[in-house]
């Protein structure tokens, strides 16, 4: 399996991967950590809102929605 680094917003719908790094700080990072996004977390991109933003991802057994702009700051590794 070939693994490459992307930002979260670049993963297509139904694509999956693992969180590598969060390039942000402050409240947003705290919030994301509290909701289960840490290094090594597996996720799957489940869909996008009608206008392409926010993005809906599935992680730790639930659905989380996040804006594209914020997703750009999350570095991930893509599966497959």
């Amino acid at each position: 399996m070939d693994k490459q680094k992307f930002t979260l917003d670049e993963i297509p719908i139904n694509g999956s991967g693992i969180i590598i790094d969060m390039q942000m700080d402050g409240i947003l990072r705290k919030k994301l950590i509290d909701m289960g996004l840490v290094r090594g977390t597996k996720f799957k991109v489940d869909g996008r809102a009608p206008l392409g933003d926010p993005i809906k991802i599935n992680l730790r057994g639930y659905y989380l929605t996040i804006r594209k702009n914020d997703a750009k700051k999350i570095i991930v590794e893509k599966n497959g």
């Binding site: 969060m22 700080d25 409240i27 947003l28 990072r29 705290k30 919030k31 994301l32 950590i33 509290d34 909701m35 289960g36 840490v38 290094r39 090594g40 977390t41 869909g47 996008r48 809102a49 009608p50 206008l51 392409g52 933003d53 926010p54 809906k56 730790r60 057994g61 639930y62 659905y63 989380l64 929605t65 996040i66 804006r67 702009n69 914020d70």
Partner: protein, 675 residues
């Protein structure tokens, strides 16, 4: 027991805390299937074997780091008020993320019971949790509950009472050797030099390294020099592991949670697409998502007007006219003042408001359906981009849906917004959303002027009302845009939200909502509206000698004084003026005033209105009613939530200008067009 034994419910948003609270205390607090329903602290009393237990319901939190105002309420409560027992309510079907908060609670110096709620859903999803093992590993009792069906409630209360005399040692979570060493050092320092209790010192050390605002405020105020040790520890951890303590600690906690899950939770991976996914494929579909949102709002108003008002309402209306006839027969020989009071004020004024009870409960029934099914969170998700494009946060959509019931509730819901900017804008634009108290005014006018017409299968009155909702929405968005470009320009915002699974609304909660709101509408009619009506009535029969309710009465003279300002909008009569002024107190009073000054009771009111308004001036009047000044209750809540009288006055001032301007434009443009 000296003070009442207190149990606080703490857990992630939407985990079922309020449902549990309602069952425990027999209360009827608002429940809904979206994160952020509860934004205030609520108290109630539970009884178990003739002992009383005080139960506290709080807003949901994902961790002990609070950012939005509702979260601050919950976090401050547990950190400062020290309940005897914390019941950590966990959504069993989503246990992994829920346990993150649990670990933080376990680090605290409080007795804890874990309630694995939604046990029924976990079972359905074939998630099997070994409660005994979890209880052993975490050293706290673990119970299973089903809050919607009262499952496990007795056992929960019993366990809570049994724990009264035991003590619990806070969890010393193992963050690794280096980190633990540093944490102990700082904890020691805290014990020796500050007022923090020894049991809480380790937790405070953790919080300080995580840059927690609350801990920093508390500690550094006492001993600024501790800040230096904290910074040193932080950089040492960063050097050794390559990450801030904040990230490093979170990693460690999730690592541990994953190991707990491996040991205690069995999950059969279901391959079939579940209901939630299937519904979402339509409701959040690329092409359908936004049309579906507006279709739902459209149907909300069509059904409210068509079924609630025109169909159900007609029965109540008939009953009120019958009553009016009967009573007026009885009072034929009574003193004219008494007659006027009963017929004009009681039946004409209060009665004309009560006619709208069926409209109210239809509307609230439908809003409850949206809240309980899980659509609310989807509305936010679907609308965020559109809203964001004009400078609003997606969660403002909640304020717009909840606010179409009552603006006060809409404003309260903005507590979940994280940034001050989004919150302030949400509060200030909420009053433009057409609330259910304005519906009687629309129903009355639309019924009188567009009544019997139909457009396709839809009653024209419903379309008129929906056009007003849209107008309110557009004005709200436009004002929001202006505010975000001017007053609140610099501030940034972000958006993170959980989408809960769809749930079948329970009849119990639908009826609770409907009844609560309808009851409060009736109560308001009997108190506030009645009071206003009596006052207005008194002003309309004095000075003695004038014909009751005529232009010569005090009321008529007052109205005539201001009426000229409203003439360009097409409704410069003293009656309309008085109705609008009174409406600032409560919007329902607009209808009550007309009912009274036109002295007829509901049945004939529509006929009388036709003499005073044209369809165009009627529409302009509805626009005015929609936009001009928030009602007194809304102004009060704006003041409370913004903590500023200035903003409350501002909201009255600018909406008066906008309302008047819009009504004048509608009327003048309509006249030019020959309407």
């Amino acid at each position: 027991m000296d003070k009442t034994f207190t149990v606080a419910l703490i857990g992630n948003p939407n985990s079922g805390k309020t449902s549990l609270f309602n069952i425990l205390t027999g209360s009827r607090q608002h429940v809904g299937n979206w994160p952020g329903v509860t934004v205030e602290r609520k108290e109630g009393i539970a009884r178990y074997e003739n002992k009383s237990i005080r139960i506290i319901d709080l807003p949901g939190i994902y961790s002990l780091n609070a950012s939005s105002d509702d979260e601050v309420i919950a976090v401050n409560y547990i950190l400062q008020e020290k309940p005897d027992i914390v019941v950590n309510v966990i959504d069993s079907s989503n246990i992994e993320r829920n346990l993150y908060l649990t670990l933080q609670l376990l680090e605290m110096n409080t007795k804890i019971i874990i309630a694995l709620n939604m046990a029924d859903e976990a079972e359905k999803k074939r998630i099997i949790i070994d409660r005994n093992k979890l209880a052993n590993l975490l050293s706290v009792p673990v119970m299973a509950t089903v809050a919607t069906k009262s499952g496990g409630i007795k056992e929960l209360l019993k366990t809570a009472l049994d724990m009264e005399r035991i003590t619990r040692i806070p969890l010393r979570f193992d963050y690794g050797k280096t980190a633990n060493g540093k944490l102990c050092e700082i904890a020691d320092l805290l014990c020796k030099t500050t007022s923090i209790e020894p049991e809480a010192s380790f937790l405070f050390a953790v919080k300080l390294l995580e840059d927690d605002r609350y801990a920093k405020d508390l500690v550094l105020k006492q001993r600024a020099d501790i800040g230096k040790s904290v910074e040193a520890a932080k950089s040492q951890i960063k050097e050794e592991f390559g990450f801030d303590p904040e990230i490093y600690f979170a990693d460690k906690r999730y690592e541990y949670i994953e190991s707990l899950i491996r040991e205690c939770v069995q999950k059969e991976t279901a391959s079939t697409k579940d209901l939630t996914e299937r519904i979402d494929r339509i409701v959040t579909n690329k092409w359908l998502g936004i049309p579906v949102f507006f279709l739902i709002m459209f149907l909300l108003y069509q059904i409210t007007m068509g079924f609630g008002n025109d169909f159900l309402g007609s029965y109540v209306e008939a009953a009120v006219s019958l009553l009016a006839e009967h009573v007026s027969g009885l009072l034929e020989n009574a003193h004219p003042l008494l007659r006027s009071f009963v017929i004009d004020a009681m039946i004409g004024g209060v009665g004309s408001v009560l006619v709208f009870v069926p409209l109210m409960f239809t509307m609230y029934f439908l809003i409850s359906l949206l809240e309980d099914s899980g659509y609310m969170a989807r509305a936010v998700y679907v609308m965020d981009k559109l809203m964001n494009a004009v400078g609003l946060h997606g969660k403002t959509a909640v304020a717009m849906i909840v606010g179409s019931g009552c603006n006060v509730a809409g404003i309260m819901s903005t507590r979940t917004l994280d940034t001050k900017k989004d919150r302030m804008i949400g509060i200030l634009i909420s009053p433009f959303i057409s609330c259910s108290a304005r519906l009687p005014v629309y129903a009355l006018f639309a019924g009188a002027f567009f009544g019997s017409k139909k457009v396709g299968i839809f009653p024209a009155s419903g379309l008129v009302v929906f056009s007003l909702y849209l107008l309110g929405f557009i004005v709200a968005v436009a004002v929001g845009r202006i505010l975000s470009k001017t007053v609140f320009r610099q501030e940034k915002s972000y958006f993170i939200m959980e989408l809960p699974p769809y749930r079948v609304p329970t009849l119990r909660s639908l009826f609770i909502h409907m009844w609560e709101k309808t009851e409060s509408f009736i109560r308001k009619a009997g108190t506030v509206i009645f009071g206003i009506v009596v006052l207005i009535w008194a002003l309309s029969v004095f000075p003695i000698g004038v014909e009751p309710g005529s232009a010569g009465s005090i009321l008529g003279r007052l109205g005539s004084l201001i009426a000229p300002i409203l003439t360009p909008a097409g409704f410069g009569s003293w009656e309309a003026t008085v109705a609008l002024i009174v409406g600032i107190g409560a919007k329902e009073a607009v209808v009550a005033t007309f009912g009274m000054v036109y002295g007829t009771g509901q049945g004939l009111l529509t006929n009388v209105l036709v003499q005073y308004f044209t369809p165009l001036s009627a529409y302009a009047f509805m626009v005015m009613t929609l936009l001009y000044s928030p009602c007194a209750a809304t102004v009060g809540v704006i003041k409370k939530e913004t903590d500023s009288l200035k903003w409350a006055l501002f909201s009255i001032g600018y909406s008066l200008i906008i309302g008047w301007g819009a009504a004048v434009i509608v009327y003048q443009v309509g006249k030019v067009l020959g309407l």
